[in-house]
Every structure is written in structure tokens, then in C-alpha cells.
Symmetry: C2
Subunit: 229 residues, 2 copies
Amino acid sequence: MLASANLQEARPRADAGRFRSMPPSICQSLLGALELTGAKMPFDRNAEIYGENEPADYVYKVVSGAVRTYKVLSDGRRQIDAFFLPGDIFGLELGDEHSCSAEAITDTTVVLVKRSLVLAAAEKQSNVARLLWSHTARDLRRAQHHTLLLIKSAQERVAAFLLEMAERLGAGGALELPMSRQDIADYLGLTIETVSRTLSQLEGAAAISLPASRRIVLRDRSALNRLND
Amino acid sequence: MLASANLQEARPRADAGRFRSMPPSICQSLLGALELTGAKMPFDRNAEIYGENEPADYVYKVVSGAVRTYKVLSDGRRQIDAFFLPGDIFGLELGDEHSCSAEAITDTTVVLVKRSLVLAAAEKQSNVARLLWSHTARDLRRAQHHTLLLIKSAQERVAAFLLEMAERLGAGGALELPMSRQDIADYLGLTIETVSRTLSQLEGAAAISLPASRRIVLRDRSALNRLND
DNA sequence: CGGCGGCTTGATCGGTCTCAAGTACGGTGG
DNA sequence: CCACCGTACTTGAGACCGATCAAGCCGCCG
């Protein structure tokens, strides 16, 4: 379901060559590399991009929209590991299988390149190898930060989430969230009701305002920061 | 406090050379590389090995004993990110600073090598670069697994912890835990009382027995596995 | 024997979940 | 344009799990 005709036709050798001949300034970022060699692909809202334990043949970058990666426990509980926003890279694995499932949160377009091409480039160029490492290291830092969230109170988790999103969406005081309350709940390890209630509390405390359910204005950042750590 | 006299005298160029001339079979693992080039260093129980945000000048491997890495929130709550047992590598960072603090849980000896040597070797040899990536990727998988733990009930967390330790300590049915109840609690995001109570419950349910507080015998693994996922 | 640190156990409190309505919004068809 | 519907979200009441506060216990070492 992933591989479109023109992806199949990609020629590893030629493309590996493209990596080798790239000027360093472009090779500086996997993002740049992805942009040059990748194929664009659209996904509908809630469409699966890949499933846990499926072969990890491609590396992805969000062009527009948003993506969630998650795991599901046997009893149905879902843990969202991360959200990916435009510019973010996801699906990069050391092993041959994806460790999480990935879905489009809204209608989304991604670019993707064959993982084998990236690995081949890393063999030849140490700066590409370092990029792979640095992306995984960044994911690790985010995962550790996420772990820290999960030991906090509901208010602290929600406040931290809002601040994280404000930073990553680059919005000044007004957020336009792509994800549902259920997504937020599954990211923060709370229930949808607790997320909703906590947002209402924060609004009552004048820390935020909620002109629409997905639109959140940060009114008092210092109050949120106080909750954050 | 880290740098002993003979570490200061280490010569990067010579040691980088040693990496280059190593037979591939040894270079296959960072562990092997560490063993050859590393200096041994002992730490007392509860001694700090490095602190969060300190320069990450060395990479460590546990020889004997056990190590915890952790973060502390401003209000004093502590989150243990990981436990490291003999054979485990820790303290490897992409950036120049440690993202966690590290302490010896019991009297511990580690071997360490300068991070700069490892990085230099990775520049020259793509298989070393891949090793760095693979260690960070392993840490990432563990962190994701840890995140999954934190959304579960107390029983499930404790059961998962016991199974993880049984696997990593390689003990058949009997565990000799190096860490205190407080360490376990801070790893699982619970209180010491809840950990203690939950262990008692599991003993009452005949899933484990507790001949001594740090010694735990797994009596019914399938019962623990049922709790685990 | 006394004291101390680590652990267990008990009683109560409180935050989050659960179950259950009720509300707002966007889309679709009349 | 409105009526209707379904989905997402909010709000309320009560139950439950784990935290908190408080003793007591155990093993170790002086």
C-alpha cells in the first residue's frame, strides 16, 4: 500500500550517487537530502502510513499536515509516542521493522526515500552517518522528555503539552491544534475527559483561552511555565 | 572528579589509530573497543558518575555493579530513566553535555574511553559510526518501552519491571536486585509504598516469593506475563 | 543492646477514571 | 434555508486507585 509505481522504479545506485555528489551544504541535513531524492505522497486524515512491525523500507518527512506514531496494548489502550509536524522526519529505524505504527492526523503529504539509499549513503559519508545518529538521538531526547511528562499531574502534563506545541508550531500566542482531544489524552497518558476538564480549568485560571476547541490562545505563559517544572 | 591522571595522558591520535587497526571482529562492538582502550574506574555506592548538563567527555561501560541515570524536577521528584547492568554502555551522547545524571547503585566499576576518540573512530570507519547509532537506537527503544510502562497500572508496572530485570540479569527464577525500593519506585513512577504493597500482593497471589527484600523469586511467570500486556 | 536505614503495613485523602448526560459544530439532504 | 445527524467535545456525579501520613518491623552494625 505504500509503494507506488514510481517508487518501485527508483534506482538505488543512481540515487546513492546523488548523495555522494551533493554539495556538503545540502548534505548537512537529512531534510535536504529527502527533499531532493524523495517522492511526494498524500495521506487522508486517519490513514495508516505504516504499521508496527512492518518492514521499514522508507524514511519519511512531513511536508504538510501532521502525523502520530503510537503503540496499542492488547487491551486496546493506545500510547502515542510522538507527533510529527511539517519539517519533521519520522520512520527512521536502525532495524528492519517499524517500532510504532504511524497515521496521518489530518490530510497530510509526506516525502519519502528508500531507507536502503540512506543507509548506503551513510556507509560512504561519515557526515550522513552522523545525521542518522543525530536524528535518533533527538528522538531519544524527546522520548526522555515525554517520560518526564508522564510522572507529573494532569495540569502539568497539559501545560507542558501546550508549551511544546506552541514552540513547535512556531505560533506566538495562538495554537491551531491538528489533533483531537483523544490524541492529546493518549499522548499524555490521561483520559479525554481529564484533558478537557484541565483545559477548562486553565481557561478558568486565565492561563489560556479557548475560542474554539482546536484553537488555544496562551494568555499567561509564566503560569504555564510554573506548572511545567 | 572524573578525570584521573592517566586519563589526561591518553593520546587521541595514537588511540584513534588503534581503532583503525583493530580487526573487524573486535570493532564489531563498542563493548570490545571499550575493553581495549578504556581505563577502569571504581565508584562507591551512591557516588555520582556524572551530572546532568556536565560535559560528556567519556563513554562508560559497566564492568560490575549497577548504575542509574535520572533527572530531578525542581520540586524534588526524581525520574530514573534507566538502569545499567554489567556489560551495558551508558553516557554516550550526541551533544557535548549529558542529558541525565548517573550514579552507582552499588559499589561499581566501569571502564571509560574519551568520547572524542570514539567520535574520531566513527569519522574513519562506517561500522563504528553504525555502532554509535545502534546504541542510541537501542536506548530509544528502551525509552519507548519505558513510556509504555508508565501508562499502566501499578501491578502491571511492577510485573513488567520484574520480567525486564529477570531477562537482563539472566537469572532463571531468582533475582538479586541491586536497587532499592525507592529506585524501583522512581523508575516506575510510583511511590515506595505502592511498590512494596504491590510486591506483597504478587506474593499473596503466588506469582512471586520474597525470601529477602532484594531477592525475588519468580514463581508464576505466566501470571506476570498476563499482567505485562 | 541500641540505633538507624530500608522496608512493610495500615488508615485516610485526593486526583483521575468511569459512567452518563448534555452541548457545539460541521456536513448532508430536504 | 432549515432540519437532521454524527462526531467531537464538555460537564457532572460517584467510584477507585495510588498518594500521603503515620506506625511498626526487620536486619545490620556499632
